[in-house]
Point group: C3
Chain length 363, copies 3
């Protein structure tokens, strides 16, 4: 089950190139096939650079357009040569005079923003760019953002739950994103975030005060040095997760905004795109402000996400297998389900809303 | 869905050897397992060389006879040693005096013709050798035929449609079997073949006049040289496709049989065998007449089929995946569906005929 | 379908180590995941060495406990840090004061005996150690036992049938466990064992008299030398198979206990554990008495099992595929089905007994 009227992430802008090579030659980036929310789509750039997203399925006999070739603003299926414009309409059937009106391919709205490519999988009339989450991309001049990606064989609801509660940093990620010592781990698990529910998103804010820096950064600072960590997360449907993370020299207080020196000012932007019910594509970045960055910090941040998300991948894939084996297993709720519960409630609300709307249209 | 009363191709005669090694030793060619139209069969040669085809399934507990060993005219299951004659009847159960009448294996009629091995998957009483398509095999003294094979993960109906219309040479195969220039490709897509429907086959005939030679042969002739190409295809159910292809020096005329010098006189014989609904074995050959061949032409022809059918394989496998995802996708017909439509109509006619017959027998 | 109230083998004791490394680090032996009779379990040792078996599924959201870490007598799930005692009860939820009563993991009775680890998959109240089959393990001071294992993609009923009738030694295993000559193979197939049915097991006893030694041992003895072979097998539900195999210099008699010199005195202990309906884990050992062993015999015995069970694996996996394709294929029974028939009858009796009991409890 996927929300249709939503922006789904298809990766970074640099993944889609101006190459004119055809799909059979498999040149990277010219025609990019993706599976998003159960639909196969093909993405390519017009000569102007503008992106086009079409269903990756020729209306003739379902050949893959991503095995075709770009021609001007359009695309040609290389099976029987049918050519389609960027509007999805067939404008040539080689050897045939007339073109049936039904010979068209579904077009999906697409927007580039903050170096990310966003595809709208529902009713184009409802595609509202304002719904695209804010992010900080690799070409932002103020931030030194590095990017990476991962494919995970798990349902995207497990990723939502994973991202909506960071207390698990204390456990899976204790050697990476988490804390090197038991006391700090205990602090992480006692976080009481401030949740703010929006129509399509949840904002989560909290501080962790007077703790050592995260494990993967601890070699950079003197032993015993303490920090105030600030987390400000916007988690948007279906599953985009953007965190403004800052570390300050601890000011010794327990409450209020940190007043110590700002040591690291970073943004991490993460998008989970469900391919289908069993797999996701995960695009993520992390980078530090150029104002207070020191050499190599941003690459260190992003490389660490590769390590941490590999830890998550093992856990989520095993969890996915088990959930498919026992879909009716009675589960026990704990305090850390607050965040995941809210985000999944929001997702289900939108899913139900769309189901109700579809039922009304049909009736 | 497969037509039962039909000859299916199991490969070339040289694939089935006289070796006496047993199946567990996996010696190539002694006992050959195939999956044809959903049935598992084992093929082997008697000491006389005569081929035998049995269901690859011991009547005791379904062990694979192809893991057994040849003994005289028969085969022994190596699980409990039950021995079967070439007539499928059990003639020894080691340690047991009497042999139950039911202890027999299904026998399939088999015929070797033109170096091809044909298995009849239906009622043996109806096996009519006259239904075997004509082909030109590697041991034909007049032709220099080379052979190859491919496994494709697609339903055989997609292969039928692919072979029943050659206008796609202009697109997928433009760098191999097709034409190097746009004008010629346009000519290919305007072909109006002469179709002749027979009870089990469709004959397709046409000329392409005053065009450059096919892309993969273009390095052999002077630039600008033009040819008249003659196609004469017999496409037989379930899916055998035999083409007599000739290239003449262009005589400048637009109609009638070409009168220029015969440059290449070739036969290609191709058989698509459905393993099940999702996979086919594809056996194909191509060769030139010894009269007008020049060194290496036949090997060039057959090697080029490997390239071209790899192009097809990518397209058909992606198409197969998409058709399984959306079996009810509304498809748009185009002019080039004429040939595929006729062949699939013929296939469906035979399928319905057999279904009706089966219903009558049951009632 | 699996008998629940039964001991299933989880491997040898040495597979489960005292390591304290956590599951994410994948250290061999600290936390061992197994799939037994359709259930996922995790096995580990307490500091005392005592084994614990829990369902490999956190009650919170089904994360794999085998990716967690050992802590004292218990285990901690590394997703959100929930800690469980060896009794399966949650004793810590980091960040949460109260612990719901339902927050517990299923515990399975486990027993080590003869170096084997046995897990009871049913009602713990019914776990009776007396039901554990006798075996001779690698640490038995009187026997020089070597161990090995194999994973087979076949239903465990096929393994039961395979082990319950050894006449197949004459065929699949003629170059390994079987006989090098036709006469002896014929003798093997005429064996009339003495079967004794017990409540949970079948004992099978027989002699093969005045025959050459098994193929894989024939290089050790003078050509023409004859032996009396004694087989005494205890085959226990679900599928443990222990054979006391002895070879004597042939005494020339046809009946009664052999009176010739004891040449080889050996025990082989074999356990087939169904993972699910399609796969089994197979743990086996073979070893000779230290009294009459010569150098290398025990390793030769066990290595030969690897060879012989690879022969079986090919046959059973092909059989499994065929049985799934044609579940209603009418099968023919033969004389050698006596042993398999009795063991499968015993299995089905227990399966029906448990089904009846479950129905009574429900009603």
């Amino acid at each position: 089950m996927f929300v249709k009227n939503a922006w789904y992430n298809a990766g970074w802008d640099y993944m889609f190139t101006q190459s004119q090579k055809n799909g059979l030659s498999q040149e990277k980036g010219a025609l990019v096939a993706r599976k998003i929310a159960g639909e196969r789509v093909v993405l390519y750039r017009k000569p102007t650079g503008q992106l086009v997203v079409l269903e990756d399925r020729c209306p003739h006999r379902q050949a893959a357009l991503s095995l075709g070739q770009k021609e001007g603003d359009g695309i040609r299926c290389l099976y029987h040569g049918m050519r389609f414009g960027a509007d999805g309409k067939c404008n040539e059937i080689p050897g045939q005079e007339t073109i049936p009106e039904r010979a068209c391919v579904r077009v999906f709205p697409v927007v580039e923003k903050d170096n990310w490519v966003w595809v709208w999988m529902g009713d184009p009339a409802k595609a509202d760019e304002k719904l695209i989450p804010h992010a900080v991309g690799p070409s932002d001049p103020d931030w030194n953002v590095k990017t990476s990606q991962m494919h995970v064989k798990a349902n995207y609801r497990l990723e939502i739950a994973n991202l909506a509660d960071l207390t698990h940093l204390a456990w899976i990620h204790r050697d990476t994103l988490g804390a090197p010592d038991l006391t700090t781990r205990d602090r992480y698990t006692h976080i009481k975030p401030k949740f703010t529910m929006l129509s399509h998103a949840m904002r989560t804010e909290y501080y962790v005060r007077s703790v050592p820096i995260n494990s993967f950064l601890s070699h950079l600072f003197p032993p015993g040095m303490l920090f105030d960590l600030e987390f400000d997360i916007m988690h948007t449907l279906p599953c985009t997760w953007v965190l403004h993370f800052r570390a300050f020299v601890a000011d010794g207080k327990d409450e209020g905004a940190p007043t110590g020196q700002l040591v690291a000012d970073t943004w991490t932007s993460q998008a989970v795109t469900p391919c289908d019910e069993d797999e996701v594509d995960y695009y993520y970045s992390w980078g530090a402000s150029k104002v207070c960055e020191f050499a190599g910090l941003s690459q260190l941040l992003c490389d660490n996400l590769d390590d941490a998300f590999t830890e998550d991948r093992h856990v989520l894939e095993a969890q996915h297998v088990r959930m498919k084996e026992k879909p009716n297993f009675p589960m026990v709720d704990i305090i850390h389900d607050a965040g995941p519960g809210k985000m999944l409630w929001l997702l289900d609300k939108h899913l139900k809303g769309e189901a109700k709307e579809a039922a009304t249209v049909t009736a």
